[in-house]
Each structure stands twice: as C-alpha cells, then as structure tokens.
Symmetry: C2
Amino acid sequence: MSQSGFTPHDHSGCIAQTLGAAEALCAREGLQFTPLRRRVLEILLTGHKALGAYEILDRLGADGFSAKPPTAYRALEFLTAHGLAHKIERLNAYIACTHPGEAHNPAFLICTDCETVAETEAPAAVGPAAKAAGFKVKATTVEATGTCPACQAARP
Amino acid sequence: MSQSGFTPHDHSGCIAQTLGAAEALCAREGLQFTPLRRRVLEILLTGHKALGAYEILDRLGADGFSAKPPTAYRALEFLTAHGLAHKIERLNAYIACTHPGEAHNPAFLICTDCETVAETEAPAAVGPAAKAAGFKVKATTVEATGTCPACQAARP
DNA sequence: TTGTCCTTTGTTATAGTATAACATATCCCC
DNA sequence: GGGGATATGTTATACTATAACAAAGGACAA
C-alpha cells in the first residue's frame, strides 16, 4: 500500500485494488455494493483529490443516474460509514480511502497548491489531553494543510 | 488558565480575562478591536459552545448591528485570523479561543451530547508522517468528537 | 480646509453545501 | 403473491459562505 498520494505511482492499480477491497469488504459484511455506490467510489478514485458532492453529482448525471443531491449524499454516507471514503472537513469534500478494511485513524495532508490529498496514519492525536480531561473520544479528525513535495519543488 | 471547558468554573472570569487579552493583543499589534468585533467575541464567550455564523448574526441583529451574513463572517474572519477565535470544522461553527495571544496548536474535544467544546493543546499530530512524505505543514486541524465527563456520568 | 487613502461596515445578490420528507422500485424470503 | 427491508428517485427547503459594490469615518499631508 502506498504511504502517500504525493509520489508518482501506477494509479490504475490503485483503483483496481481499492475497488477489489471494497467488493471484498461488502461481501464479507453483507453490504450491497450497488452500481451507484460503486460508481461514486470510482469517481472518487479518479485521482488523489477530494471532490465536492456536487462535482460527484455532475459526473453521476453524465452516467445516467439521478443528478439530485440526495443521490450523491446517500452514496457518500454509505462509503464513509464503512470506511471506503472519508470526508475532508476543511474542504467540505470527499476522498476515497487508500486502505479500506484496515482499522485506521486517518490523518490527511492537503496540498493547497495542487489540491492533492494524501492519507496517512494519525498517531494518538488527542489521547493524552482527552484522558486528562476525562473525555471519551469517539472519532478524531486530523487534517493538515500545506505544500506537497512536488509543489515545493515547483515553486521554490 | 483552565485546561478544559468541561469542568465547572467562574465563567464571568473567563469572559473578562479573554476580552482583556483581546484588547491587549489588538493594542500591541495595532489592530482595531471595534464594537462589532468585540460584540462578536462576547457572543462567542457566552459559553463553551461553538456557534454558527447565523446564530451570531441573530444576536448581532438584536444589538442593532446589520444582520446580514458578511457582518458576522467578517468579524469572525478577523477574530480567527488573529487567534481570538477558532472555527470548528466538524460543526461549521465558531468558538472563542480560551488562551488568546499564546502560540498554540489547538485541538478540540467536542461533546456530542451537550455540545460543549473544550480547547486543548495538540501534540505534533502529523509531524512525523508529514516529514516522511516530504510535506510542509502550514496549519493543522485536530478535532475529536465524543462524550464529556458530565455527560458520561449523566448517561451511563 | 479639503482632498486622498485606507479601513470598516452596510447592502444586495448569489454561490455552495446538506438534509427532510415522501414516493417508487427492487429484492428476498416466506 | 404478499410483506418487510433496503435502495433509489423526487421535491422542496435549510444551512453555510462569499462576491461585488456602496457608504461612512479617521489619518494625514498639501
């Protein structure tokens, strides 16, 4: 599995692998990996960029699906609920998970130049502070904005 | 300074202290702490909860300010730009900073029961992973949802 | 003093994000 | 072939945010 969406790689492999993992996960858990849900995941997988719901919606419309907001949002809810995609809160946008099925605490590195988003593993980001406060953590969002290696090189 | 908005405390002291710090910071940096900006900060300081821009707007209207969106958003932009308030991305809402002026990397603990938000210090949440990826971090968002001590006790 | 620059606030309009509520369809299983 | 569960279609609306331009006021120099 790639550690970073920043480094060049065979992206068609990325796509195939993730779709395969999604199929396997849905089969294992008795979930329906319907054409709509599959198509939304494919759209997200076109690149390591976060897409807004309405951007996804446009592409769905081109494929003959209903181009109304709930269509996209419901598919995204399914994908995020099962760890196949994540919402990037800073961007109000969505991205395919790069290692579905594996338990993880994702952190995202968002390049503000090229808009590429890389998913990495977050260390215990709030664990100690939460413990000290007596706070019981359910989910953690960790997102960093900045500049990816390629864009640092391109704009010195 | 309180480590947590979860523990009971003298909140009027909270308010006075933060407003004082804001005044001092603006005086020091040559910024204009106008009545509008001050009022928005006061509104945010009414409790340790995040408020939406339109919620703030309603209260501004009651005080004779223009109740149009840019009024609130511009004040919030000023406050967040200078570290006097923060945006909670998970909630699309805003909260007063509990220790303005001090350099910090805030992390937020969001109670999904009572909606209280506590600000704590984030450890280097993405440092190692970013370094490994060659990513240059500009800003980091760390937000955890969960249950605060009081709500854990109330709903066992 | 008045004219110009700059910052802040007011105002109008619109863009972008998300969900509620109800209708229809499909499939599985009995 | 009827009943329940799940998924999708459809309509309407709520919520969040910004662009663009107008107007008010202070600071400061000519």
